[in-house]
């Protein structure tokens, strides 16, 4: 079963990280992800640019309304996600705990994936 681990954090905090802080967090996370990769459990991983780079298309009207900024103003923002292939929720929670130890603060939302298409666009 595939799950998405959605990463939420206050981007005011993460954007203020120095390059050294950022590199240190990424290095710690890559210890966790490379282990998952070896086990064949890691799917696509994405780090999103801050919500200040976001554009929202509201499609509840015709024509759709295009607005600058994220869909929702929240205290923590969706800043990235991991896709993992696990036997059950317990296993995903274990992975999320490892990731959390490498990158504390904020929250992970774990969502089972109903359909995943690998797509054709390369990195």
């Amino acid at each position: 079963m595939k799950y998405a681990i959605l990463c939420y954090h206050d981007e005011k905090v993460t954007c203020a990280w120095s390059k050294e802080q950022d590199d240190a967090v990424m290095a710690k996370l890559s210890v966790v992800t490379s282990k998952l990769e070896k086990q064949g459990k890691l799917g696509p991983v994405a780090r999103l640019l801050p919500t200040t780079a976001a554009t929202t298309l509201r499609k509840d009207r015709d024509p759709p309304l295009i607005v600058d900024g994220p869909f929702a103003e929240t205290k923590e923002q969706l800043l990235g996600f991991y896709v993992v292939d696990c036997a059950n929720l317990d296993e995903v929670l274990g992975i999320a705990k490892d990731l959390a130890a490498a990158n504390p603060g904020g929250a992970y939302e774990i969502r089972p994936i109903g359909m995943l298409s690998p797509g054709a666009a390369s990195s």
Partner: protein, 412 residues
């Protein structure tokens, strides 16, 4: 449980909003700053036990406000301080109240705080120092290092700036639309000044200076969160990101400046470039052009060239032409001439800059560029004279060394 480093990150992120709200309440920078400091001390005590509140800024505003009110009461010999516990026990439950109180004014508060710092009565160096101290929360020592002055001198500069701001009495009512956009323009200019103060240096004394670039980007992002649909705010953020993306490539191992054309583009920070390009892309969609958009578009063209030879100089020349019409300045014309030289050749470029001689006679880059155009036209004697003039105007040994290389390459 919670790591103190983590707490200081949260405090730093909440700082502009908290100080801005406290400034509106107490209308005094010193009171706002002290109240915030005290609230931070209490956070350092309370948060490791209970974890940080979900809305750190509201917590800090609430605690800071109570602290300041107590201070004022004490001064006025009103009544004794309430129990400390009554304040430091603030939990998340009170946050929504604080939010209701403050959220409506949040945008104007932060804009006002920044605007206070760039008050027209203050010289630019004082504006920047004040903003870095009050809004960014850098220490006097950090700011002094970035400006290459003593801590005492910087302390005095900031104190003088605060006194002037207090005397100038910026109005605290919510600004009207025109005033708001004037304030925003002044604040954007100040953020760009902060960035340039960090960027314009030619030896790799990175640390202290690079910090200013990082702070300017942080302030630009803060403004962008407040005004997500303002193309000029997007563009300024993009411009800073695109320029800062080159930071690693701007100096060689010995700390010497490397000019754009010679930089190792593999050292450019691709994430900053991607973000910068995404923002300028968004900004241009609005069809409301402005000078930051033009400058960011130029920076984006440089950033997207895989090698110096692939730079789209024709487009860059057109953009400088646009910038010239928006903000006529001999320096912009000089920049356009550099692009024109690449596309139409040195003759056209020289014709373009000759009329600027009187205005830019004391400007290093003018004589450097003029010398290069003359050199390319084979007018060696005149080129040498221009280069000599440039060397005399160089502000650093490195600028002079670049020109000497040019002289050495002159035939004969």
């Amino acid at each position: 449980m919670t790591d103190p480093v983590w707490i200081s990150d949260i405090l730093a992120a909440a700082r502009p909003q908290a100080i801005a709200a406290l400034l509106r309440q107490f209308r005094d920078l010193d009171v706002a700053e002290e109240a915030f400091q005290e609230a931070c001390l209490r956070a350092l005590k309370a948060w490791p036990k209970n974890g940080p509140p979900r809305d750190a800024a509201s917590w800090l505003i609430m605690v800071g406000r109570n602290v300041a009110i107590d201070g004022i009461r004490k001064q006025a010999r009103f009544k004794p301080m309430p129990e400390d516990a009554a304040i430091s026990d603030l939990s998340d439950a009170e946050a929504p109240l604080a939010e209701q109180l403050d959220h409506a004014d949040y945008h104007d508060d932060i804009l006002r705080l920044l605007f206070v710092c760039c008050h027209p009565d203050l010289p630019q160096t004082q504006q920047i120092a004040l903003a870095l101290r009050i809004v960014s929360g850098l220490s006097v020592a950090q700011i002094a290092r970035a400006f290459l002055v003593s801590e005492d001198a910087m302390e005095q500069r900031i104190t003088r700036a605060k006194r002037k701001v207090a005397a100038a009495q910026v109005p605290f009512e919510a600004p009207g639309a025109i005033e708001r956009s004037e304030r925003l323009a002044a604040v954007l200019a100040m953020v760009y000044l902060i960035f340039n103060e960090g960027y314009t240096h030619d030896v790799a004394e990175h640390g202290a200076k690079a910090l200013l670039c990082e702070e300017a980007i942080r302030l630009a992002r803060l403004l962008l969160r407040l005004y997500p649909a303002e193309p000029e705010v997007m563009a300024l953020t993009a411009l800073l990101l695109l320029q800062h993306a080159r930071a690693e490539a701007r100096f060689d191992a010995s700390g010497q400046v490397v000019l754009l054309e010679q930089q190792d583009r593999a050292l450019w920070d691709q994430r900053r470039i991607i973000e910068g390009r995404a923002l300028i892309d968004k900004a241009l969609r609005h069809g409301r052009p402005g000078p930051y958009q033009v400058q960011a578009a130029i920076a984006a063209l440089h950033a997207s060239a895989n090698s110096a030879g692939e730079t789209d100089w024709a487009q860059i020349g057109l953009l400088y032409g646009t910038l010239e019409r928006m903000q006529p300045s001999p320096v912009v014309t000089l920049n356009r001439a550099v692009a024109v030289a690449k596309v139409q050749g040195p003759e056209a470029a020289l014709t373009l800059i000759e009329p600027l001689a009187a205005q830019l006679n004391g400007y290093f880059y003018f004589h450097g560029a003029r010398g290069a155009f003359l050199k390319d036209l084979g007018r060696s004697a005149e080129a040498r004279a221009a280069f000599d003039r440039a060397i005399a105007l160089a502000r650093s040994p490195i600028e002079a060394a670049h020109i000497r290389q040019q002289i050495d390459s002159l035939a004969g």
